[in-house]
Symmetry: C2
Subunit: 249 residues, 2 copies
């Protein structure tokens, strides 16, 4: 760890260059302006910000408010720093697509480099993946008599989350979402339309999600699709965690 308060441009330059060589994490706080040029382009006039440079090339510029960085370059980018008169220029280049972030420091208030040791990985629960697994283990949550034929069935127009048969031998396409949006319905529709061309007999579409919006239910009805509300809490406890609702069609 190395930390400097109110460093001179020269001191900051050295700290950053050494940290880049050593693969350390860099934090800079100071007055700077930012230019971005790439998929889009942007200008951010000078202000005091936190600049975060990681050893994997990630560059983040954070303002005093907001969840997201105001400017950034993703992992894999290359950063270079140089001094021009009393200004310090930090430039990050991404190759594909070509994107360039140029930070001009008028004044650096704080510069620090840190060697972070961290081999831990996030263990996340409650993802869509888990919802699908739940349905596979408990196909009756889709409906009594439902049999899973294939998970993640690839088609010309994307991958179907779950695909199976109902008790009467009809094809059932299941789209699973944590939050059901218009998009989800349209995705389901794409798959159902495709399978209608290929499969004999009826093709039903079912949207399973933990939450629905009103507009979505209307659109589902218009499309002749059905939906199921999953309750993730109850699922975890092994109870019956589904409210069924069949639209008539």
């Amino acid at each position: 760890m190395r930390v400097v308060l109110h460093p001179s441009p020269r001191e900051t330059l050295h700290l950053v260059e050494e940290a880049l060589r050593n693969g350390e994490t860099i934090l800079l706080v100071g007055l700077c302006g930012v230019e971005y040029e790439g998929r889009s382009s942007a200008t951010l006039p000078p202000g005091e910000r936190v600049v975060f440079l990681k050893s994997d090339g990630t560059l983040l510029v954070h303002q005093r408010v907001g969840n997201n960085p105001i400017c950034w370059n993703p992992p894999g980018s290359r950063a270079k720093i140089r001094q021009e008169d009393e200004l310090l220029l930090l430039e990050s280049e991404r190759l594909k697509p070509r994107e360039n972030v140029k930070i001009t420091f008028l004044q650096v208030v704080f510069a620090g480099s840190f060697e972070l040791v961290d081999h831990a990985e996030l263990e996340l629960r409650g993802t869509e993946r888990e919802l699908v697994e739940t349905l596979i283990q408990h196909p009756n949550l889709v409906e009594p008599g439902f049999r899973v034929v294939k998970r993640e069935k690839p088609t010309r127009y994307g991958v179907i989350d779950l695909y199976g048969m109902d008790g009467e031998g009809n094809t059932v396409v299941v789209e699973v979402k944590r939050l059901a949006s218009f998009q989800a319905v349209q995705q389901l529709r794409r798959y159902v339309d495709l399978l209608k061309q290929r499969e004999p007999g009826e093709v039903r579409g079912v949207l399973v999600a933990t939450r629905f919006t009103r507009g979505v239910k209307a659109l589902l009805e218009d499309c002749g699709f059905e939906y199921r509300v999953l309750n993730p809490r109850k699922i975890n406890k092994g109870e019956k965690g589904v409210q069924s609702r069949l639209t008539d069609y």
Copy 2:
């Protein structure tokens, strides 16, 4: 600005409490474990990370790699810090939806608080909004004879980017995207289907974007839609920045 190296839990506690009171931006570096509970839930075993706490309630936990924070709470959350034996507990609470991030510091290597003055705002160019404006100024980019009737026409199923008439009085629905995806086609389809019920005569769908994938073009053709490739560079220069392609239907 206040900075402490290898602070004791007590020192960190004081620094953070004072910074929270003063609305300052806080940076902590150290060994910590994280628990998240909310829309989803997650556990991150201990490791060395950068913790970023903003005066608007934003909490970010960054690992040594990756563009995105591994854990976070968005603006509007409330942070509290307290000491338990030699451990330091930083807890952030969001109310709607209820989400909780709890950081347990086993060791703090660096603690800093900063008063950031920044009134600048990002000026971004090249967004979808600009593409739509270009089409309004140059409706012939959609096709010769096209007349804009309405921009951002709201419907039951969303807002149509651009809506107008072709030279023969047919309704034309235009969906504009920077990158054309399956979703964009489906969005267009939703609008076209809706207008077919309402408008007399033919309803055409046109997807205008700067980039298309092969699958998207296939789906467009299946739906009987047309597409236009916009070249943003040429548009900026005022040249004819479009390649037309009419699917027959």
